[in-house]
Amino acid sequence: MANPGVITAAEAAKRPAGGQMLASIFSKYGIFLIFAVMVVVASLLSPAFLSTINLINVVRQMSVVGLIALGVTGVIVSGGIDLSSGSVVGLSAVVAASLAQSADSSAPFYPGVHLPFIVPFLAACAMGALVGWINGGLVAKTRIPPFIATLGTYTAVRGAAMLYTNGRPISDLTDQYNFVGQGALGSVPVPILILVVMAVVTHILYARTKFGKYVYAIGGNEQAARVSGINTGRFKMLIYIYAGFLAGLAGLVVSARIGSGQPGLGVGYELDAIAAAVIGGTSLSAGGIGTVAGTIVGALIIGVLNNILDLMNVSAYWQQIIKGGIIVGAVILDQLKHRGGK
C-alpha cells in the first residue's frame, strides 16, 4: 500500500514561508514594478514625457532593438548568446535596399531592376535567417561556444555588408519600402505595429509551442532534454535561425526609417538587445529563464531611460554611464532572486 500520510508530511515540510512568498512575487513581477515606478518618476520630472507624441516616439525608438531582443531572448534561454544581430541589421538593410530602389533612382544598384515590395522584404528576412542558420550550425554541429561562433559571424557579416555595397549607402528607395519605417496606420507608426505583432507571435511561439518548450528545456538542462528523446541540435539550430530572421526584419525597418540602406547600420544593437533581455529577467547565468513580456519591458525601460535623460538634457556621455549601471543593477537583482529562490 502507498503511504499518503508520509508523503503529505514530506510536502508539509517544504511549504514556502511568508517571506519567500514575497520574494517570489517580486521575482515574478519586480521588473514591471520597476518600470511603473520609472514612468511615474519620469512624468514628474518632465511634463513633456506623458504627451502622446512623446510616448509614441519612445516606443518607436525602441522598436528595432525590441525586435532583435525578442529573438536574442530565445537564444539566451536556450543557453546561448547571439552577438551577430547588429551586423545582420547592416547586411539585411543593404541587401533589401538594393532590391527596393525606385525607378527614378540616380544611382541604381541593379540598373533596370524594379521589384515588388515582397522581394526585398523576403530578402531581408532570408539574409537574417541565413546568418542564423550559420550560427546555429556552428553551435549545434561543431559545438564551439556560442559566444565564439557568433563573435565570428559578428565580424564576418559586417564585412559582407561593406563588401556588398563597397561601403556606400543605397538610397532612393520605393515609397512602399519607406512606408515600413516611416508610415503609420491611423496614429500608430508601422514599426510599432510590427513589434507588437512579432511580440505576440514570439510569445505564443516560446510559451505555447513544442519548439518553445524545447528551447526552455535545452537551456534548463540539455542532458535532460536529450535523454527525453529531444533532438537538441535541431532545436538549437531553429532558435538561432529565428533570432536571425528577426534581426533581418529589424534591418529592413531601420533602413526604411532612414530611407537608405547603409552597411554601418545596427552597430552595437546586439548589445542593446542583450541588455533589454537581461534587464527583463532573461538569465545569462542559468539557461531556461526568460519571457517575451520581460524583454519588451526591458527594452521599454531602456527607451524610457534614454528619453527622460534626453528631455532633461543630460549629456550623451552621462546617459551611457547610467545605462551601464542599470544593466549591471538588473543582473545583480537577477542573482539575488536566484539566491533567494533556494
Binding site: 500500500m1 502507498a2 503511504n3 499518503p4 500520510g5 508520509v6 508523503i7 503529505t8 508530511a9 514530506a10 510536502e11 508539509a12 515540510a13 517544504k14 514556502p16 514561508a17 505564443i204 505555447r208 509551442t209 513544442k210 518553445g212 518548450k213 526552455y216 528545456a217 534548463g220 538542462n221 542532458q223 535532460a224 532534454a225 536529450r226 535523454v227 527525453s228 528523446g229 529531444i230 533532438n231 542559468a286 531556461g288 529563464i289 529562490g341 533556494k342
Partner: protein, 503 residues
C-alpha cells in the same frame, strides 16, 4: 524458454579513454521479471544501461529486444522501441513544472498546433494518482524535495508505457515510505508483463523485489542467478571478489567533552531543537524524508538562517552565520546532493579532493603540489576510488566514486566535527564498510561525527546515540543499546500513522 527473453545483450564492450568500462558482457532479461544488475562502483552498470537507452554506442556486441536485433543510436529510438530509463543522476529541468518534465518530448497538442497545457496537467494528475504519488503536477521542479523529484522521474519512466524500464539506483535519494510506493509500482508493472532492470547497492532491496541477479565486476560479466538461490554473502562475494567479514566496523571510542551544544534552535524546516555531540561520538540523525534533518544541519552549519536558541562550541557561545563561520569553528559538512552542492563537475578528481583544504597546501602564494599529490593519492587508496588517474575529470567517474571523492575531501580538512548527510548514498558494499572503518578511526582520534542517514541498518550499526526527528521537531533520542529498527520507525512516523512503515 529461450524466447521468454525480452532482452538479450551479448558481447558488449565499451572503451573510454583510459578505461575499459565494459568487456564482452552479457545480460538476459525475461518478460515480467525484475532483474537486478549488481556490481561495485565503476563496474559498468550504468554504462551498459546507457548503451541500451542510446546515450552511448557500444564498441561491439548485439542487442536483441522483443526478438528483434536493434541498432540503438539515440534515446528517441530506444524510447520508441519500448525502453525507458530512470537515470542515476537526477535529470529534471528545474524551471519547468512536474507535468512539463514528465511529458517532455511528447507534449499533447491542441488542434492549432500548440502545446495543450490543460491536457498535459490532466494526464500528469491521472498518472501521479494512479501511482499514488502525491505531487502537484503544476509545481516547479526546483521547488520539490529530492525525494519528490525522484518520484516524478519514476512517474516519467512509467508514463512511456514501455516494455522494459531501467531503474538506475532509483532509491538512492528516497526513504522507506517512497520505496514502498516504488515497489508497489514495480509489482503492478511486472504484473502487466513489463520487465524491470533494477540497479541498486542496497542488499535488502535485491532480495525483496528482484527475481534474478546479474553481477558485473570491473567491466566483466560474472554470473546470473535466480535471486532465490542466492544468499547475501554469496552475492557480496561475487561482487567484490572476496568475503566481507564485518560490515559495520564499530569500536567504542572514549567519550570526551561536549564539542557542539545546540539549544532550542529554530529555522526553516525545524523548530526548537536541542542536542549535544561529544568528542569521540557518532550521533545518528534518523527520520523520514522531510523530517527536517538536512534542514537542521543546514541551519547549524550556517547554510540557511537559524534563529532563537544558542549554539556553543567547546562550551563557548558562537554565532554561525555562514558556512565559512562553521568551517572556522572546526566543522565540515558533506551535503546530501552531490551534483548540486558538492562537485566541481568539470574539475579533476584531485582538485575536487583538496579544494576545501587549500590553505594547508600554500607556501606563500603557491600550492605545494607534491604534498597535494601525496595526500590525494593516499585518500584514493583508502577509499578505493576507481579512476585512471587523479587528473581525470570527475564527471567521468561513476556516481559512487564521485561520492567517495567528496568524503575524501572532507576527511582531508581534518575537522573536529564532521557532518555527513547520507554519506553512503550510491556507494557499494565494499566501499561502504571502508567508509564505516574510516568513521570509526575518525572518532577514535577524539573527533565527533553527526550522520544523517535514511538507511536504518547503517544508523543502528554506527551510531552511539540516535536523535529522531519528525516534521521539524525532535521526537527524542535513543541510546545505542536500546535502539531498534521498530523504535526508530515508530518515533519517526509519530502517532498518526503508527503501522504504515512497520511492515
Amino acid at each position: 524458454m529461450e524466447n521468454d527473453y525480452l532482452l538479450v545483450m551479448e558481447g558488449i564492450s565499451k572503451q573510454f579513454p583510459g578505461v575499459r568500462a565494459l568487456n564482452n558482457v552479457e545480460l538476459r532479461v525475461r518478460r515480467g521479471t525484475v532483474h537486478a544488475l549488481m556490481g561495485e562502483n565503476g563496474a559498468g552498470k550504468s554504462t551498459l544501461m546507457k548503451c541500451l537507452i542510446g546515450i552511448y554506442t557500444p564498441d561491439s556486441g548485439t542487442i536483441t529486444f522483443k526478438g528483434e536485433k536493434l541498432n540503438i543510436t539515440s534515446t528517441h529510438y530506444a524510447l520508441s522501441k519500448g525502453i525507458s530509463m530512470i537515470h542515476q543522476e537526477l535529470s529534471p529541468i528545474p524551471e519547468m513544472t512536474v507535468a512539463e518534465n514528465i511529458y517532455l518530448g511528447r507534449e499533447p497538442m491542441t488542434p492549432y498546433g500548440l502545446v495543450d497545457m490543460r491536457k498535459m496537467n490532466r494526464m500528469a494528475t491521472e498518472l501521479l494518482d494512479r501511482l499514488h504519488i502525491k505531487i502537484r503536477p503544476t509545481a516547479k521542479m526546483r521547488d520539490l524535495s529530492i525525494a519528490n523529484m525522484q518520484l516524478s522521474e519514476i512517474a516519467k519512466a512509467v508514463s512511456y508505457n514501455s516494455d522494459l524500464i531501467i531503474m538506475d539506483e532509483p532509491t538512492s535519494a528516497i526513504t522507506e515510505a517512497e520505496v514502498a510506493v516504488l515497489f508497489d509500482i514495480i509489482k503492478s508493472l511486472t504484473a502487466q508483463g513489463c520487465a524491470v532492470i533494477y540497479i541498486t547497492h542496497k542488499m535488502d532491496e535485491v532480495f525483496k523485489i528482484t527475481d534474478e541477479v546479474t553481477v558485473f565486476r570491473d567491466g566483466q560479466y560474472v554470473a546470473t542467478e535466480a535471486t532465490a538461490n542466492l544468499t547475501r554473502d554469496m552475492l557480496i562475494e561475487q561482487m567484490v571478489g572476496r568475503t566481507l567479514t564485518q560490515m559495520f566496523h564499530k569500536e567504542k571510542a572514549e567519550m570526551g567533552s561536549v564539542f557542539l551544544d545546540v539549544e532550542n534552535l529554530s529555522g526553516k524546516g525545524f523548530r526548537n531543537v536541542s542536542f549535544q555531540v561529544k568528542r569521540g561520538e557518532i550521533l545518528g540523525l534518523a527520520g523520514l524524508m522531510g523530517a527536517g534533518r538536512t534542514e537542521l544541519m543546514d541551519g547549524v552549519f550556517g547554510v540557511t538562517a537559524s534563529y532563537g536558541g544558542a549554539v556553543r562550541i567547546n562550551g563557548k557561545p558562537v554565532k554561525v552565520k555562514s558556512p565559512a563561520d562553521a568551517i572556522r569553528n572546526g566543522m565540515a559538512l558533506l551535503t546530501e546532493d552531490r551534483k548540486l552542492t558538492g562537485l566541481y563537475l568539470n574539475a579533476t578528481v584531485r582538485e575536487n579532493m583538496f579544494i576545501a583544504n587549500i590553505n594547508r597546501y600554500l607556501v606563500g602564494p603557491f600550492l605545494r603540489f607534491s604534498k597535494i599529490e601525496k595526500d590525494c593519492e593516499k585518500m584514493r587508496g583508502l577509499m578505493r576510488v576507481k579512476t585512471p588517474s587523479l587528473m581525470q575529470i570527475i564527471k567521468n567517474l561513476s556516481g559512487g566514486n564521485q561520492q567517495k571523492v567528496l568524503i575524501a575531501r572532507w576527511l582531508l580538512t581534518e575537522p573536529d566535527l564532521l557532518i555527513l548527510d547520507e554519506p553512503t548514498r550510491g556507494i557499494d558494499v565494499g566501499a561502504k564498510s571502508e567508509i564505516y572503518r574510516l568513521m570509526t578511526e575518525f572518532v577514535l582520534s577524539g573527533k565527533a561525527i553527526i550522520m544523517i542517514s535514511s538507511e536504518l541498518p547503517e544508523v543502528l550499526g554506527m551510531s552511539d546515540r540516535i536523535l529522531v526527528m519528525h516534521e521539524g521537531d525532535k521526537v527524542g533520542e535513543l541510546s545505542r543499546a536500546e535502539a531498534t529498527q521498530e523504535k526508530i520507525l515508530q518515533m519517526a512516523t509519530g502517532m498518526k500513522i503508527p503501522t504504515s512503515l512497520a511492515a
